[in-house]
């Protein structure tokens, strides 16, 4: 998985930010929930049995005649999970650029996210959801983890239809509270907003990246075509010029509905077109997430 050099250069300015407290282990760059000895004063709290006596603020005891413990906030690393839609509908590519499928674009976006996360010391993990089950790379940090993750990501395949609820056990087991979840999908599966909504309700911050092919955006078909749905295999004979206006209207309405439905649960939804560089959409979604 090779990130184009110009995209990689533009990734430097991008940072993850979370509304929630980061709860990773060790030191990070995000406001964490853990308190303790540190440099930056957070709060006073009353002494409890078991606190170390050296953490008692004796000057305050002198003024108030009560024991207070001085607490400092500790910055923690964020855990980012990338949830990849790997159903069969992601194999679609533009006619103008046949090899570049939606899934390839999704992998590229995931690689960029991994790059950003590792650069700023956060943990990142990946979950690919296919019809047969879940492909998973556990969360971790560091350049070594990133390299392993990119190799594993390269082996991700897509196929099948959106799986049923039972298959999602690994998601719920791995994706801890307060972690950031980035869902990358084409938005055609009705179950996906439900998953996003459940994750958001369970105190995970969710961002949604929708991948839209240029053929869907522009519908440049003229003449007769046979359209085949990659998931169901259903076919449909269509005259491109006649169907264009109606399709564009219905497709735009569907995407608008999807964005509204996600936004209602606090999930920002941003669309990535196959003909634009990967960093554009990342810049938009990471800027809006903080």
């Amino acid at each position: 998985m090779l990130i184009p050099s110009d995209v990689r250069a533009r990734l430097r300015g991008l940072r993850f930010a979370s509304r929630l407290f980061a709860n990773g282990l060790g030191l990070g760059q995000h406001r964490g929930r853990s308190r303790g000895a540190g440099l930056e004063f957070e709060q006073y709290r009353s002494y409890e049995i078991g606190d170390e006596p050296r953490r008692i603020d004796w000057k305050l005891y002198g003024r108030s005649d009560r024991f207070f413990v001085r607490e400092a906030a500790r910055d923690s690393p964020l855990t980012v999970w990338v949830l990849l839609d790997a159903t069969a509908s992601m194999v679609q590519a533009d006619r103008a650029r046949p090899g570049y499928t939606k899934f390839a674009a999704a992998k590229l976006l995931a690689a960029c996210l991994a790059e950003i996360a590792v650069t700023q010391g956060d943990n990142i993990g990946m979950i690919g959801i296919t019809g047969d089950g879940v492909q998973l790379v556990g969360a971790g940090g560091g350049a070594r983890h990133r390299d392993r993750l990119l190799i594993d990501l390269d082996g991700f395949v897509c196929g099948g239809r959106w799986p049923n609820e039972a298959m999602f056990a690994p998601v719920w087991e791995r994706v801890a509270i307060d972690s950031l979840v980035v869902i990358i999908s084409d938005g055609f599966d009705a179950a996906l907003p439900v998953v996003a909504q459940k994750l958001a309700a369970a105190r995970r911050q969710v961002l949604s990246l929708g991948i839209v092919a240029c053929d869907e955006r522009d519908f440049p078909f003229t003449g007769g075509f046979i359209f085949r749905d990659p998931e169901t295999g259903a076919e449909c004979r269509v005259d491109g010029a006649a169907a264009r206006t109606d399709f564009l209207a219905r497709f735009a309405a569907a995407r608008r509905d999807l964005a509204h439905g996600l936004a209602r649960h606090g999930v920002p939804h941003v669309e990535h077109y196959l003909d634009e560089p990967a960093d554009v959409v990342l810049r938009r979604i990471l800027a809006g997430a903080g």
């Binding site: 053929d215 990659p230 005259d239």
Partner: protein
Amino acid sequence: MISLLAPVGLAALAAWLVPLLLHWVRRSDRQIVLFAAMRYLREQTHPRERLRLHEPWLLLLRLLLIAALALALAVPILRGQGAPSAPWVLVAPGVTAVAAHAAVREPLAEWHWLAPGLPPLDASLPRAESSASLSSLLRQADLELPPRAAVTLVVPEELGGLDAERVRLAHAFTWRVLPGASPSFTVDGRADQRVGTESGSRTTAPLTLAVRADAAGEAELPLVRALAAAWQVEGLNLQWDSSGPDAALPATSAWLIWLAGPLPPGIDAWVRRGGTVLASRQTAQDAGEVVLSDALGAPVLRERQLGRGRVLSLAGSLRLGERPGVTAAQSEPGSAARNASLSAADFPHTLLVLMRGPPLAPDRAAAAAVAPLATGHAPLGPAQFLLPYLALGVASLLLAERLLATRRKVGA
């Protein structure tokens, strides 16, 4: 103006179907596109059955080639309106050149006889060609004269050589009638000597009836005289010229009664020039078409055309009087029936009709009454065949088609 000599050749345009079918792209090779957003397409938008053709320029060339070939089959000709031309004056025979010049003041005009070939008026009118029908000469002149020439037709008062159809001319024309009469002609070009007919009744010259008899023929003379007398009664002005078989034939006579056996070659030559011969005792059986039979159906008189003249051959002798029991009569079977037909009351009249030959069609009228009518459309110019140009076009189209069809394809 382009017109087609054989418009049915355009039916070859049906061959257009062949390249059209060859270039018609079947819809079965439609592309299959993976399209996940298919659910947002309405099922109703079925593709229109639009005619799709591949290599339209090659198809166009081929259609043009076929069209050119079909046009060639239809034989196109080009008729121009022609250049402005001097007026023409056509003088019908029967009017003298001097009279015509006096009557028509056209100093710049082309003066011609209305005769085959339209000879110039300065030349004398060749008499042998004067028998052509005046009506058809007028029609031919109408086709052949320069299209924009004004034509003055100078005709005698009494016009001959007409036919049953009124002449219609496309040229602008003037019909000048001068005193005079068309000469009347027989088919051989001589002045009409057919007497006793409706057209010949005005001829006052007597007809010489030449009779040539040998010794045996002397016996037939009484009946010949009786026939001549009967014809005189019918109004024929006859001049009797009876002589031996070796006597010279009168140059002016039209009728000869030959009573001297088989016709010698000298007589044949005379007949070929236009004479009419009644010959008795002719034995040749293929002597022509039977025109008179006796009561038993045996041929009595045969007629054959010889050059411009005719020969009427009598199988037996031209005499009566063999009574039953006479040996001469018994030697000829059926002679009684033949005698009966010869002695019939209407035999002289029948023979006269046969001697006169077929009547002439009424072909004379007052010129003022038969002035040509206008056709109402402009005269057509001379036709120019366009086939050479078309052949050139077909060849270049074929070359271009081959070049286009065999060129290296860019994508191949």
